[in-house]
């Protein structure tokens, strides 16, 4: 993985110093809260319902054991002993004191981490495929480009006071594990007929209150021109986005209002205009970065056999372990969705244990996923049983990846000042219902995603089953949505009809899955059946 050189370290250290100075000026009253707010947000510090929340960047979801242990240390020293892994592959802490924030940043800087641009109207931490470097279907590791873009977008002088936040995702696989078309810019590495690398560039996707699946703006962008093209798109948006209504300022609205054709024309024209000054990074720098992502020294001649004599272990292997490109190795998914539990939460002790496992069994490499789970990307098949035993002992071996109990949920009204309704208790009740029914495995792949307000941090638009919490006359009410997907077959879920109360939504989800079990054909996932039969049979049982 990427390691800082003295330039990277100097920049992050300077940021710690800058934020310490800004915090001191705020605490001394030299700055108003209005003036301080965008500055702290650019450093991931939100004022929430009960305390400050600090969001720490995990660039493209990759970290090593030393960094992971630091995350555990911060949970212990400055928070209440746990952290929350987010749908942006980051981690956030919910009980932070403002005066501690500069010290936390200083601690993070010692392990080459930071909280730069994890919130605010800035270019956010870029997300990428959690299987990068291990997936059998990728054309190459996308992370060198992700790191290149991370650097180029850090403290970008022209694009630090953008109309709204801006999120980029990159993958190099046909199977989309990062929801590229639901991002402001989604990038997929492809090869053209001449064998050259380039990007499919999707612009203008997103969730929130006005969801869009991003159109393909450019089918093939030469890889060497990645950053100048992103700059061109950012400049068109920065200049011409609305600034009068915070809900209409994302790039997706501009693409929609301008029209895909006109937006494309303007971006191409801007790109032509800036190419003479282009700040594209030369290939030798990409090669320097790429050397950091060289494959680890995989052993050869390993057996692909797995001893499945322990049935609980075999269940976990079938559900949570994915194919690796190297013979004798496997990708291990660590579910952060225990039953019952809080989606995405991990205690400091669990964080330490996972760090140990990454160091001992996975070439010191660890990933976070947008589904709020973790990944050990390179585990020898011969070690799977030992890894599983240690995960089991720590409550981290729930065999439910992509199943009905692997629910994405935002923090909701339990923590978030924007929320209209609670998310976490709904996730727990739905989990409990399926456990009671005992049909989690029978239901197969089923992505349930819950947001506590229309900002959609729980990705409900992309859920096979999505749940949106709203406030109806002072009581929490939950809308049911069906048919969304954040994968390569991206689609937006549609609302079924009137909402439900807290227990009603749990019943509604169960009834929905019963329709699936009744109607499904051989080999169909929930989503496939829904797409084939449409919403009507579901409406009949829900409202009929």
């Amino acid at each position: 993985m990427y390691r800082y050189d003295h330039f990277d370290q100097a920049i992050v250290d300077a940021r710690v110093d800058e934020f310490r100075d800004q915090t001191a000026r705020r605490l001394a009253g030299a700055m108003t809260e209005d003036q301080f707010k965008p500055l702290r947000l650019k450093n991931g510090l939100y004022l929430q319902l009960h305390a400050y929340m600090l969001r720490v960047a995990i660039p493209y979801g990759t970290l090593n054991s030393r960094q992971m242990r630091m995350l555990g240390h911060i949970a212990r020293k400055y928070d209440r002993g746990y952290g929350h892994f987010t749908t942006r592959q980051n981690i956030q802490y919910n009980w932070i004191k403002l005066q501690d924030a500069p010290d936390i940043l200083a601690d993070l800087a010692t392990v080459e981490m930071h909280a730069i641009q994890t919130s605010g109207e800035s270019i956010r931490n870029l997300s990428s495929d959690q299987y990068a470097g291990a997936a059998a279907d990728e054309i190459c590791d996308p992370r060198p480009w992700a790191e290149l873009v991370r650097q180029a977008t850090t403290f970008h002088p022209e694009f630090s006071y953008l109309p709204r936040k801006f999120k980029i995702a990159v993958t190099a696989s046909p199977e989309d594990r990062v929801a590229i078309r639901l991002h402001d810019i989604g990038l997929r590495l492809v090869q053209n007929d001449a064998g050259e690398l380039g990007f499919e560039v999707y612009i203008g996707g997103g969730m929130g209150r006005t969801p869009f699946v991003a159109p393909l703006i450019r089918p093939f962008l030469p890889a060497d021109n990645l950053f100048s093209y992103i700059e061109a798109a950012l400049r068109v948006w920065n200049r011409w986005a609305r600034r009068d209504n915070i809900h209409k300022q994302r790039i997706k609205i501009l693409v929609h209002d301008m029209g895909e054709e006109e937006f494309r024309r303007q971006v191409e024209e801007e790109w032509e205009a800036i190419l003479p000054n282009a700040s594209d990074v030369e290939r030798k720098e990409l090669e320097r970065i790429a050397a950091h992502f060289a494959p680890p020294p995989f052993e050869t001649g390993l057996s692909d056999e797995i001893d499945r004599s322990d049935p609980d272990f075999a269940l976990w292997v079938d559900q949570n372990v994915a194919a690796h490109k190297a013979p004798g190795y496997a990708i291990v998914n660590i579910s952060l969705k225990p039953v019952p539990g809080i989606p995405g939460d991990a205690t400091a002790d669990q964080i330490d244990l996972i760090a140990d496992l990454a160091e001992q069994y996975s070439f010191d490499d660890l990933r976070t996923t947008h589904a709020q789970n973790l990944v050990l990307p390179h585990v020898r098949k011969a070690d799977l049983y030992a890894v599983w035993q240690k995960l089991s002992a720590a409550g981290l071996a729930e065999p439910n990846l992509d199943l009905a109990t692997d629910i994405i949920a935002c923090p909701g009204l339990d923590y978030c000042s924007l929320a209209n309704a609670r998310s976490i208790p709904i996730a727990q009740k739905i989990q409990a219902r399926f456990i009671e029914r005992g049909n989690v495995n029978e239901l197969g792949e089923l992505k349930i995603k819950i947001s506590g307000c229309i900002n959609a941090c729980g990705h409900h638009h992309a859920g096979h089953i999505g749940i949106l919490g709203v406030d109806r006359k002072g009581t929490e009410n939950y809308q049911l949505l069906l048919g969304g997907s954040g994968a390569e077959d991206a689609s937006l879920a549609k609302i079924t009809g009137p909402g439900f109360d807290e227990d009603g939504i749990v019943d509604a989800v169960e009834k929905t899955t019963d329709v699936y079990l009744r109607e499904r054909r051989e080999g169909e996932r929930f989503l496939d059946t829904y797409r084939r039969i449409g919403v009507e049979p579901f409406k009949e049982v829900l409202y009929g």
Partner: protein, 142 residues
């Protein structure tokens, strides 16, 4: 007021009043013009050689359109003064300098010590802009 303007230029301050973009395009003998947020800086590109001062207004410090305006003017080769006016705060001025602003007429006074620290805090930058700073990726390769 001239005494409140923070300048990073050696030439004497320009004395003529600024006119609006519309007025300038109607009557192009003016030498100083003011761009409001949302106006297209590229309209001035044909006339840059006769302009000595371009003022770019920031109605709210969170409105970042002016950063792109300044860069477009510098990319087009403009060497005259670019002044940021309005809601200009000390924590934005480093980015403004990098985008090509070389004078500032803030609504509220700026603490010069804080400004000096802010402008000198970062020894390195990750990307090229309108200033002379060499991005670290170039420094890495000599």
């Amino acid at each position: 007021m001239a005494e409140d303007i923070i300048r990073f230029r050696d030439d004497p301050p320009h004395e003529e009043p600024v006119v609006s973009v519309d007025a300038f395009l109607d009557q192009t003998n003016a030498t100083a013009v003011r761009i409001e947020a949302g106006e297209d800086a590229r309209l001035l590109v044909p006339y840059l050689d006769r302009l000595a001062l371009i003022e770019i207004d920031f109605p709210r410090f969170r409105d970042g359109r002016g950063y792109s305006s300044a860069r477009i003017l510098r990319e087009a080769g403009y060497k005259g003064e670019i002044r940021a006016s309005g809601d200009v705060l000390v924590d934005q001025m480093l980015f403004m300098r990098r985008c090509g602003f070389d004078s500032f007429a803030p609504d509220a006074p700026i603490d010069r010590a804080v400004l000096d620290a802010a402008l000198n805090r970062y020894d390195y930058v990750y990307q090229g802009a309108a200033d002379d700073a060499v991005p670290v990726w170039k420094l890495r390769h000599g």
